[in-house]
Symmetry: C2
Subunit: 205 residues, 2 copies
């Protein structure tokens, strides 16, 4: 909080360095040098090296998450439309930040917490929102399901894991197929006619 400028400078530096190195290979001194400050200053703004990564993830996903959260209260929009908007928010937020080259070999496995963090962040933040939307859909009779929280979690897990595309790297086609299958499962699982949720499938960037 004290000096937002330096704080951001540090985050920028880490983001820059992450583009072509794994986290383990980046030293705190390196971050400090890239940010144009002394190493000691890093620890004035962050308690640990890991905390910098946490903050970076936080910063990059704050905006899409906030807009997604705002949807929960828009009760005038159909639950399914709002669900589709959340789907879209997930897609945008991921493609913006994590553009890792998926080189083969065991080297890339170090950048994974970044992805883990992304998935974790999105799911935990979005789950209550989506659950609330589902709950509203249940109330209006548009959705039939017993446990809104669990359904929200299932949807978000599959969605984020597939969209992130790091845990189980797949072709674009496979991703589409899985999401299509998820939508089919949702339709039948929530008592909706086939094809009624098709708009959820809309293109992946």
């Amino acid at each position: 909080m004290p000096n937002q400028l330096k704080y951001d400078r540090i985050l920028d530096a880490l983001q820059e360095l992450l583009k072509d190195q794994k986290l383990q290979a980046i030293s705190v001194s390196e971050i400090a040098h890239t940010a144009g400050i002394g190493k000691g200053s890093i620890y004035y703004y962050f308690p640990s090296k890991d905390a910098i990564l946490d903050a970076l993830v936080e910063r990059n996903y704050e905006k899409p998450l906030q807009t997604a959260k705002a949807l929960a209260d828009q009760t005038d929009i159909s639950p399914f439309t709002r669900m589709a908007m959340i789907f879209q928010a997930c897609r945008n937020s991921s493609s913006e930040f994590i553009k890792s080259e998926n080189q083969a070999g065991p080297g890339t496995q170090e950048k994974t917490f970044l992805h883990q963090k992304y998935v974790n962040h999105i799911i935990t933040e979005l789950k209550p929102v989506l659950a609330e939307i589902i709950r509203q859909g249940i109330r209006t009779g548009e959705i039939h399901f017993k446990d809104p929280e669990a359904l929200a979690e299932i949807v978000l897990i599959v969605l984020t894991v597939k969209i992130d595309n790091t845990l189980i790297p797949s072709s674009k086609e496979e991703i589409e197929n899985t999401i299509s299958a998820l939508v089919s499962l949702l339709e039948r699982g929530t008592g909706n006619p086939p094809g009624s949720l098709n708009f959820l499938k809309s293109r992946l960037s």
Copy 2:
């Protein structure tokens, strides 16, 4: 390869130490000492600290995966029973090895490759097996679904992510709920009567 005994001793040591420490907190010297050998010898068997972890993951998931794979050909057993056995295999393999204390706070995120590896390994290895089982179920009319591969993937993603319990740490109760919801979704999504797949829910250890 040269001396399988020492090799295994090292893996045992790491496994033991992982029970109550995160990977970063375990030093190579510590592993060596626990294994009862000199530090230098570690590097006679493994090229790096991370390679030890890789080997450990490999060793721990080989057996349950092999047995799960063997199920694919057991066409005399009902597809649902075989699915339940795969569910069980996932549970066993994870609970056996990954017993992380899920302390709150952002500190624990360093052990993540281990979990990422687990999830990735299980899903990619088990997906064709489960898909084949589902395909057989479709052929016999016990399951109604269009895309067996995608369904298998959805099931495995939710299952492993929840069972691993690292991406979205939850209480045992929440895990049960999510899996119950998945089963409900499966029942209705595959044209089966409610409750018919209940045995898939069987207790988590």
